[in-house]
């Protein structure tokens, strides 16, 4: 096995093409064109805009498309430059920008995305290089990140989901070094390097160089009577808000003169030549991974595939006292036909960077009411039977929720949106509910289609009557984790850590969020063509406030979706 071939697979790194000549740079192009059609029966309560508003719900349909190009230039097997660009990225078919003054005579289609806004035709999303060094491999640049099942880091590449589509993908500006530590030690000891597939990765990501929003960590309030707060007279006086003296010169005069919140929105116009020089506001993270990836390993007399690994991230930002650790463990065992696979992640630490409106310090103990302790959990586990012709897998998963996002504990995070579970409950319904509730002001808390504030079971079956034909079916049943009273409504007997959950109102009675049945047919032909037909029926419980998102209050949903793709 190539020294880092398994690592490439684990981290989604493309392999280098063999060079025919020492001076030859080989060019390769990978990618795909895909188009997907969506039909939703009565998804909405009523058409939300236009003259049809208020009329009974209708069956909505639309088509999207994407062309993904991933060219690469490689020099032998020692160096490689890879780029990834999306063209017409999830663009809706047709002229949706009134390029034609009369819709009936439309001819040139527009680049309108599913959110109804115009998008760039061409987006270069990733570009990175990788090269060998004597002790390993280095990869530098804006690159994909994928780990395990993709609960945390999911590159969004390809067509790897049981149902649904990948739309986003994790991308980081990263410097990464990968090596095979045992091989180095063996070589250093003068022994054969061996082929133990144990890999170690270390890297550094630069997430933010300078945030446009200014973080203060304290607020400067306005005196309703005018003239600022006076030192010695007003308890609200804060010397940090007293920046200018009575003559207008920098300094304090005992009267506050600045008004701002804990954070302040700015635009890029404020930046001067030294905008990048402040390291205090930089967001950076170190990544470490250790993974064993064994193929054809003999276990209890059977040839097995075994992968075990741990991925660790340490993210910091000095300005907001953010110090967060992410631990993500992944395991995969295919023992004969028995499959066991799972990933569990925990995010913990402290941060004052999560500036939500209404943040408060319930016990008046914190210097900064934005300060939060972070403790987030998620997992997916699969157990089943897999052969060349069929598979039966029982899957369960969990994404921790947060019953109160503005207190001092931050415990909720959805699983990555490109880890698709079903087609309706998470992908469409809860994503719309969280978007409607959190609005654009708090977009970071949207579920975006990922598993959200719940635990679920998702048994699924695959049957392959022919080599290139696969029938799939799956059943989803989900339960809420921490009802928050607005995205997931509370029931009277809900508990939190063994104690009754306090909610403003208990509008729900059902124990579960809802169920969903998925069926699909997937067929590959002409070596590059992939077609799929998928359908889903779902019924949500009274736990989900459908009306808030303008969704069909009956709670019954149906979708049929079809995909055609050319993969190269």
């Amino acid at each position: 096995m190539h020294l880092l071939a398994a690592l490439f697979c684990a981290f989604g790194i493309g392999t280098a093409s063999a060079a025919e000549d020492e001076s030859t740079i080989d060019f390769d192009m990978e990618g795909y064109y895909r188009t997907r059609g969506y039909v939703f029966k009565e998804l909405f309560a009523a058409p939300m805009s236009g003259p049809g508003g208020g009329t009974p719900a209708q069956t909505g349909r639309y088509m999207t498309q994407r062309l993904r190009l991933q060219p690469s230039f490689s020099f032998e097997k020692r160096a490689k430059l890879t780029m990834m660009a999306d063209v017409m990225d999830d663009v809706v078919w047709g002229d949706n920008a009134s390029l034609s003054s009369t819709a009936l005579f439309a001819s040139d289609p527009s680049n309108t995305a599913v959110d109804g806004q115009e998008s760039q035709t061409f987006k270069l999303k990733r570009a990175w290089m990788e090269f060998d060094i004597p002790v390993g491999k280095i990869r530098v640049g804006r690159q994909p990140s994928n780990w395990g099942l993709g609960l945390l880091a999911n590159d969004g590449n390809g067509f790897d989901d049981l149902f649904g589509e990948n739309h986003g993908g994790s991308t980081f500006d990263r410097f990464m070094f990968a090596t095979r530590p045992l091989a180095i030690v063996q070589t250093a000891l003068g022994k054969d390097a061996g082929d133990t597939p144990l890999f170690f990765v270390v890297g550094v990501d630069r997430l933010v160089e300078d945030s446009k929003d200014q973080y203060y960590g304290y607020n400067c309030t306005e005196n309703p009577a005018g003239g600022g707060w006076v030192q010695g007279e007003d308890s609200a006086y804060d010397e940090r808000c007293d920046l200018v003296d009575y003559e207008g010169n920098p300094g304090r005069d005992g009267v506050t003169d600045t008004v701002h919140d804990y954070t302040e929105e700015r635009d890029a116009a404020y930046r001067s030549q030294d905008w990048w020089a402040d390291n205090h506001d930089d967001v950076k993270q170190m990544i470490y991974a250790l993974i064993y990836r064994g193929e054809g390993v003999s276990l209890a007399g059977r040839s097995s595939d075994l992968t075990l690994g741990v991925y660790t991230v340490h993210r910091t930002q000095d300005e907001t006292n953010s110090d967060v650790w992410i631990l993500d463990a992944y395991g995969h065992l295919l023992w004969g036909s028995l499959l066991m696979e799972g990933e569990v992640l925990n995010i913990r630490g402290t941060s004052s960077a999560i500036a939500l409106p209404g943040a408060f310090d319930p016990n008046s103990e914190l210097d900064n009411p934005l300060q939060k302790d972070v403790d987030i959990w998620g997992y997916v586990a699969r157990l089943g039977y897999e052969t060349a012709s069929s598979s039966a897998i029982f899957e369960t998963g969990y994404a921790s929720g947060d019953e109160n996002v503005i207190d001092d504990r931050f415990t909720g995070r959805p699983i990555h949106s490109d880890y698709n579970v079903g087609l309706l409950i998470y992908d469409e319904i809860l994503s719309r509910v969280t978007a409607a509730n959190y609005t654009d002001s708090v977009k970071g808390l949207w579920s975006k289609g990922g598993v959200y504030n719940s635990r679920y079971i998702y048994p699924h079956l695959k049957f392959r009557p022919a080599e290139n034909l696969e029938l799939r079916t799956a059943y989803l049943l989900a339960w809420p984790d921490k009802p928050d009273g607005t995205n997931v409504l509370c029931a009277a007997d809900d508990e939190l850590d063994g104690e009754p959950l306090e909610c403003a109102s208990t509008d729900a009675s059902d124990s579960h969020l809802g169920w969903e049945l998925n069926v699909g047919v997937h067929h590959d032909f002409h070596q590059h063509i992939k077609v799929a037909l998928e359908a889903a029926w779902a019924e949500t419980s009274d736990r989900i406030p459908l009306e808030r998102a303008g969704l069909n209050p009956s709670g019954k949903f149906f979708t049929m979706q079809a995909r055609a793709a050319f993969e190269f």
Binding site: G485, T486, A504
Partner: protein, 309 residues
């Protein structure tokens, strides 16, 4: 004066505090002699009024009986008022807002006057000073920028021959959606929100007050949740008005209601110190502040209480 402090009108619905356990033996009685605790199917006054901490504020004007204020001679006069509609949270002007004025101080029919703000959120209208009125602000529903905001008992002061200027406030749809979300409440579209500030006799915010709502017969609607603010933002755990005096009632049914404000009397009971009446519309924010000693929620500015030229 009656500013929209409803930064989070929508949200105030906090959990638990206002659904306090029954304090049996704690009989709340109005200063005017009526016994509160009108019954509905499940809600009682004890669900709302539980405060034991003494109020902070000037209650010297309260003699035990709620009163009403009327304008002094000559103070009700027509003036050309310069108005500005501001977003409640951001204080940014709201352009293209439709402002309807109801000079009978209630929405009993079509508006008496309608104006539209310009690009700077400004408008001009002929209005009577020292005469309470109600206004309603809306924007284009297709754009969904603001939520229908209604304020009752607003009064423009008489400033002599000077045409007055006045600020009206509306609540953005984002604020309306976000605050309840952050506080764990899912407001019902067929009900309304009532909010306001509690003022003491000196016109300052009254701390330590709790509010409840009932109809004219004393019936308290089910499922109404009362919440209070800290630092002008709704707080899940605040049990009564804080220094900012703000309060909010969530999921109030459509109709005519009376909001009553109570403070602890220091003897284990409660005293009704403020009251207002208003009409609540569905899917809207209905603002009506309460003033110590005032029965109908109409507080005359000082300029209206002495004879005007």
């Amino acid at each position: 004066m009656r500013t929209l402090f409803l930064m989070s009108l929508v949200l105030a619905a906090a959990c638990g505090d206002d659904k306090a356990e029954d304090t049996s033996g704690d009989v709340a009685s109005d200063a005017d002699g009526d016994a509160d605790g009108g019954t509905s199917s499940t809600a009682t006054i004890d669900d709302f009024i539980t405060v034991t901490d003494e109020p902070v504020g000037d209650l010297s004007c309260f003699t035990g009986t709620l009163t009403t204020e009327t304008a002094a001679d000559g103070c009700v006069a027509q003036r050309s008022m310069y108005g500005e509609v501001l977003d409640f949270q951001e204080d940014d002007p709201v352009d293209e807002a439709t402002v309807e004025f109801f000079f009978e101080d209630g929405i009993f029919g079509p508006p008496d006057a309608v104006v539209t703000t310009d690009a700077n959120g400004m408008f001009n209208i002929e209005i009577n000073t020292c005469d309470p009125y109600t206004y309603r602000i809306t924007t284009d529903p297709v754009l969904d920028m603001t939520k229908t905001t209604i304020e009752s008992h607003d009064v423009v002061p008489n400033q002599g021959i000077v045409n007055p200027s006045h600020e009206l406030q509306s609540v953005s749809s984002t604020t309306y959606a976000l605050i309840p979300t952050l506080l764990g409440v899912s407001p019902k579209v067929d009900k309304g929100i009532v909010a306001g500030r509690a003022y003491d006799c000196a016109g300052n915010n009254l701390q330590g007050l709790q509010v409840m709502i009932e109809d004219s017969s004393g019936s308290i609607p089910d499922d109404v949740v009362a919440k209070y603010f800290i630092d002008d933002f709704p707080n899940r755990n605040q049990p009564y008005t804080s220094e900012d005096g703000l309060w909010i009632l969530m999921d109030v049914p459509v109709g005519d209601w009376v909001v009553k404000g109570y403070v602890a009397d220091g003897l284990g009971g409660h005293t009704l110190v403020a009251r207002t009446e208003l009409k609540v519309l569905a899917d809207s924010i209905n603002i009506s502040s309460i003033y110590a000693g005032i029965e109908d929620g109409v507080k005359m500015p000082p300029e209206c209480l002495t004879a005007c030229n």
